[in-house]
């Protein structure tokens, strides 16, 4: 009872903070579309070429958006001392951490799920491929959030960590990238994709169960410095 109360309060708190900065909600969205936009600009407008690389672009952009968004996850909490208080609170830390990551995912990734089909259409993907793209994003982005949170928890006490975070986290993102973009590719070719989706689902289960413990341990380490 008490724990669920703390869980929902924390969830609500992080939501509230995000909505207080309303622009923040649109930012991952805008970043996602901006990064996607860079490719046609850099590569050129040829529709067939863009269509071929669309799955890769979508997923790379999602990865980078997740990476940049993750940086916010514990940084402000660390700086204003609320993280210290969280670690010292009698509530179970892995649960509290799950609340924070969940709030973060809802705020930063869900809008992305809504925008992805629009971008997919602009790259000329067909309806089936778009459906699969949505599914992969739905399964994959929570994994990105949880894994990103581990990286952030490890580096939050370091002053200048943006790049270091990228180095820690991007290699861990690779499985999601491979299965995700491969599934869309395969779907665009009209082949079945259940294999990749199962693998993504397995990654998701793994992340949800194990990451909170890792995050909690990393946070205790970071705060005690």
């Amino acid at each position: 009872m008490q724990e669920t109360n703390a869980f929902t309060t924390l969830l609500k708190r992080d939501f509230m903070v995000a909505f207080r900065h309303r622009n923040e909600i649109f930012n991952p969205l805008l970043f996602f579309s901006l990064v996607t936009l860079l490719f046609p600009l850099g590569i050129g407008p040829s529709p067939t070429l863009l269509q071929t690389i669309a799955p890769g672009i979508l997923w790379v952009a999602a990865l980078l958006a997740a990476l940049l968004a993750a940086d916010n996850l514990f940084r402000t909490d660390y700086e204003d001392g609320t993280l210290e208080q969280l670690v010292l609170s009698p509530q179970p830390l892995p649960l509290m951490v799950t609340a924070k990551v969940l709030a973060h995912w809802l705020v930063s990734a869900v809008p992305l799920l809504l925008l992805a089909p629009v971008l997919a259409v602009s790259f000329g993907l067909d309806a089936h491929a778009i459906g699969v793209a949505e599914l992969t994003l739905l399964l994959g982005t929570p994994v990105l959030s949880f894994v990103g949170a581990i990286g952030v928890a490890l580096t939050v006490s370091l002053k200048r960590s943006g790049m270091l975070l990228a180095l820690l986290v991007l290699p861990l993102y690779v499985p999601v990238l491979i299965f995700g973009s491969n599934a869309i590719d395969t779907a665009a070719a009209g082949l079945p994709v259940s294999g990749q989706l199962y693998l993504l689902a397995a990654l998701l289960v793994l992340a949800v169960t194990l990451a909170p413990v890792a995050i909690a341990a990393a946070l205790r380490m970071s705060v005690s410095q």
């Binding site: 309060t9 903070v17 204003d80 210290e84 010292l88 609170s89 009698p90």
Partner: protein
């Protein structure tokens, strides 16, 4: 005996800050940790809160090492460090609610009468922040933020307070208010450990001093 420290030892970067440190703290007692800048007060407090591991020696709560208690030990105390631990983007009242939720039902003094179980708005009033409940701490001055952080003490029913320079940034009225809070807490059987460069206005046999001299 609430808290007992045995043979505590601390080195930071090859330099011993303190060694063979030992003291006990009973209910109703206040321990003032003193020492010049850099003598290791903050470091000691962090060890007592379990935020830092001791290089040697032990911190015992109720005769058990605090590591063995785990979350149960964290129910017993409130911590206020150099940083305030309040969120700039939640209003003052929301910050208080957050503190309450995270504190849980702290194992400590049960709420016997309405007076000892304070509501968030009376806390604000007591801290001299009346009328600021719906404002954001990012619009507060340094001292107002510290007052909000100290509200944590009134909300919690924990038996032990661990405070690192609680009076920092407070004006005179604020310091007095803090001292009256502290003596109330001690009177009802609570204990406290704090560092301070200010002279504390409390007197009595229940006040111990620990001078760190590295």
């Amino acid at each position: 005996m609430l808290l007992e420290v045995v043979g505590l030892h601390c080195t930071r970067g090859y330099r011993a800050l303190f060694s063979e440190l030992a003291f006990t703290l009973e209910a109703g007692q206040l321990l003032l940790v003193e020492g010049h800048n850099g003598s290791g007060k903050t470091t000691l407090l962090k060890m007592l809160a379990g935020l830092r591991e001791a290089d040697d020696g032990q911190v015992l709560w109720d005769k058990q090492p605090i590591q063995a208690w785990g979350a149960e030990y964290r129910q017993q105390f409130v911590w206020l460090g150099h940083s305030n631990g309040i969120k700039d983007d939640l209003t003052a009242l929301e910050n208080l609610h957050m503190m309450q939720a995270l504190g849980g039902e702290q194992a400590g003094f049960p709420c016997r009468d309405a007076k000892s179980c304070v509501s968030t708005s009376t806390v604000l009033e007591r801290m001299g922040l009346a009328g600021n409940g719906h404002r954001f701490p990012r619009h507060f001055s340094a001292g107002m933020k510290r007052r909000l952080a100290l509200s944590r003490l009134l909300l919690s029913s924990a038996r032990l307070w661990i405070l690192d320079e609680p009076q920092a940034a407070l004006d005179r009225a604020g310091i007095q208010m803090f001292e009256s809070m502290l003596s109330e807490h001690l009177q009802r059987g609570g204990s406290a450990i704090m560092t301070s460069h200010h002279e504390v206005g409390l007197r009595g046999p229940h006040i111990q001093r620990l001078v760190l001299a590295a």
